[in-house]
């Protein structure tokens, strides 16, 4: 059920394939089917910015269907930033429209001869000239396409100047700031001369049992809106994490040199933002939370600037990580990244990186076109974004991705970037949360908080609760290593499934115990497809998706030596109520061993043949 369109941009042709029930049964949809297709179609020799790279766009099995937060759509390709698996997802309204227009997945190959955008509607895909969009930012592009095609309900996912100019960590933007952010999927679109995908559909999605779906939907609505923590999500959104990392002492400070800031910092409380800047809440398709903030800057040099955001990644990333305590600066930087189509995760990490390089004298104003990179400098934070877009000063190097930039700078500059497998770590410091540290080291797209991070580790849940939730008890204390391999594994499963279904993880048990979990997913899948999966079958699908991603990495030469936390995690936290906490190497290695065993991988992190056979993956192309 559902359709994949193989789109060849060079010849402007489309080949359509029905998605077999078997493929759905093995991978469900979304990130699951994306991973399966991508693994078959690219290899070690594929240049991420070459025409042979493949961009797979995949709406979830439930995306666009009546239910809670069925909004997500995944974009996968070989990453131009890391050279490994690239995969990111966005919410908003684009995914649903793609499905209503008649397509669940797009496999985009080749390179268009000139800039184009895809116009997808009524079961057809048209190739439209995009050259008139060449000076526009992401918001203007979307408005222009709606005007040109005369329909205000068209939903667009597009790249901005960053993607068009070949920045390797460019992202894909939809709406004001919904983003398929990490791993440079916008760079892949740019390299293909594909500037936007516009979708608008009026076709009903097939539902096996609409009455059952209605009841399931109504029940899930009551369940999530009455969950403890729903209210906090609907007021603070991801700024809950801003609050937690600051009060519990695990924020990243000055490029992860510290785990807490000493600048005073009342200004950076979420309360201040909500009070001074927030105007309205915004949401994605099917979600009652409305976790997103709309804001307006009331005075100062950015007076009148309005956007949607910021999320925690920007608050911590330009805040404590860059020593900045000005909301206005953070909001302007956020706004620019949304308009230019630049990944906030990488932009903030690169900013903090070069600020430390500047502090240590490894780079000077000569390298930065005269820009001083003092900690906390608004001029530096905004100036660096402009330099990246314009590819001048230090931006010329940063646009190539930090790995190439570090090679060009030399002088051991790479030692100051905290990353896993080439992707920078988030703006928090999880050495004291053992399951989260393990997740960081092993996540299949590099350091990632959305695939393997056991969020619940921060909430001190009693063992009876975690046993009920995951099937096995997980120690209450974040600093304990025992049992944390199971927490990480469970998280990988629930995230893989949520991403394959297109359900936003903010409405799942990944965030809070009372929200949607495997049982609820099983109910929704049954109502939509008629197939009732068991819990074991769900876990197996999650494992299959994750293992396919691991095979992608194995093929690229990734082994145990790359499943590591940043070096500084082995040193103690200097600040905060848990100062003194560090990763103990021996305990971490044993944790990693137990984790590999759970997955059925060998001691080097390579999936064993019998584990692959169990998942039906033994025939996948391999080394």
């Amino acid at each position: 059920m559902g359709r994949i369109a193989y789109v060849d941009l060079a010849s402007e042709t489309v080949r359509i394939e029905e998605i077999s029930n078997e493929l759905r049964r093995l991978f469900l949809g979304g990130r699951g089917i994306n991973t399966h297709l991508l693994y078959q179609m690219v290899g070690e020799e594929t240049d991420p910015l070459g025409p042979e790279n493949v961009l797979v766009v995949g709406a979830g099995l439930l995306t666009g269907v009546a239910g809670i937060a069925n909004s997500r759509i995944s974009f996968s390709a070989k990453s131009p930033e890391t050279g490994l698996l690239g995969d990111s997802a966005m919410g908003g309204f684009f995914g649903g429209q793609l499905r209503y227009a008649g397509f669940d997945h797009l496999v985009i190959q080749g390179r268009a001869k000139k800039p184009i955008y895809l116009w997808i509607h009524d079961g057809r895909i048209e190739f439209k000239d995009a050259t008139h969009l060449s000076q526009l930012d992401t918001l203007q592009i979307q408005e222009r396409i709606r005007e040109d095609l005369k329909d205000p309900k068209i939903q667009v996912a597009c790249i901005g100047p960053a993607g068009r100019n070949g920045v390797r960590f460019a992202c894909i933007i939809h709406g004001l700031s919904h983003a398929a952010g990490r791993t440079g999927m916008g760079g892949v679109m740019g390299s293909k001369n594909l500037w936007a995908i516009a979708a608008r559909g009026k076709t009903a999605l097939p539902i096996h049992d609409p009455e059952k779906l209605l009841h399931v939907f109504q029940r899930h609505y009551q369940q999530v809106t009455r969950t403890k923590g729903f209210l906090a999500s609907s007021i603070y959104g991801t700024m809950i994490r801003l609050n937690n990392t600051r009060t519990q002492g695990y924020e990243g400070g000055l490029n992860h040199q510290f785990n807490m800031m000493e600048y005073g910092g009342e200004e950076l409380d979420a309360e201040v933002f909500i009070d001074k800047f927030e105007t309205k809440k915004a949401t994605c398709f099917g979600c009652p939370t409305a976790c997103k903030h709309m804001f307006r800057v009331p005075r100062g040099i950015y007076q009148g600037m309005e956007c949607e955001g910021p999320e925690y990644y920007g608050c911590g990333g330009w805040g404590s990580q860059c020593g900045c305590s000005s909301w206005e600066t953070i909001l302007e930087a956020w706004n620019l990244c949304a308009k230019y189509g630049l990944d906030v995760g990488s932009m903030t990490a690169y900013t903090a990186w070069v600020m430390e390089l500047y502090e240590k004298g490894i780079i000077t104003e000569k390298d930065t076109d005269g820009l001083s990179l003092e900690w906390g400098s608004a001029e530096a934070i905004i100036g660096l974004i402009q330099q990246v877009i314009e590819k001048r000063g230090i931006g010329k190097l940063l646009a190539q991705g930090w790995i190439e930039a570090a090679k060009a700078i030399g002088r051991n500059s790479e030692r100051y970037m905290d990353h896993v497998k080439g992707l920078s770590i988030e703006c928090d410091d999880v050495r004291g949360h053992r399951a989260q540290a393990l997740g960081l080291a092993t996540a299949t797209r590099g350091a990632c908080h959305l695939r393997s991070r056991y969020t619940l580790e921060e909430f001190f849940l009693p063992e009876e609760a975690t046993k009920k939730l995951t099937g096995k008890p997980i120690p209450q204390d974040a600093a304990v290593y025992d049992g944390k391999e199971w927490a990480c594994y469970w998280t990988e499963c629930i995230c893989s499934i949520a991403d394959a279904l297109g359900v936003c993880k903010f409405m799942t048990k990944w965030l809070s115990v009372g929200l949607l979990g495997f049982e609820e997913f099983i109910e929704s899948i049954e109502a939509v497809t008629g197939v009732k999966l068991s819990l074991e079958e769900m876990i197996e699908i999650g494992e299959r998706i994750y293992t396919t991603e691991r095979l992608f990495l194995t093929r690229e030469g990734i082994t145990r030596k790359d499943d590591i936390v940043p070096e500084k995690f082995y040193k103690p936290w200097t600040h905060g109520p848990k100062a003194g906490t560090r990763i103990e190497a021996e305990s971490f290695e044993k944790l990693l061993d137990r984790y590999y065993e759970l997955h059925g991988w060998d001691r080097n992190g390579i999936p064993k043949p019998e584990s692959l056979k169990k998942l039906g993956l033994e025939k996948e192309p391999r080394l």
Partner: protein
């Protein structure tokens, strides 16, 4: 029905439940409540407000467009409707819609409107 469009976040849970309940399918185009974007994250809600003075019901030549005394709302009797479409432009709130071989208007789900139950921001309310 009372609407406060400024509170609407565009989640479309109302459109979803309406189309599922009435048409037994997942098709927002034919929902009896329509959420129109006016700009990014700003929406206009269109749904029948059960006006005392109802122009669409007055112009209906067959009497299909009627008041339903039981619910206090309106209802289109499908078997009487001749699809002339004269009612559609008469609604001052543009809340009578062209369906697929039918004319659509909110009938309060014949009892308690389901959209109100899933509107977290209370952009739509029913006394």
């Amino acid at each position: 029905m009372k609407i406060a469009s400024e509170k609407c976040t565009g989640c479309r849970l109302c459109e979803s439940v309406c189309s599922l309940f009435h048409d037994k399918k997942m098709d927002l185009t034919f929902s009896r409540i329509q959420i129109d974007p006016s700009s990014e994250n700003h929406y206009r809600v269109r749904v029948c407000l059960q006006c005392e003075d109802c122009p669409p019901s007055e112009v209906c030549p067959t009497g299909a467009f009627q008041w339903n005394k039981a619910t206090g709302g309106v209802k289109i009797l499908e078997e009487e409707c001749n699809l002339c479409g004269l009612c559609i432009p008469e609604c001052p709130y543009s809340s009578v819609f062209e369906g697929d071989g039918s004319v659509l208007v909110c009938d309060l789900c014949d009892d308690r409107p389901k959209c109100v139950e899933v509107c977290q921001k209370q952009a739509i309310q029913f006394a």
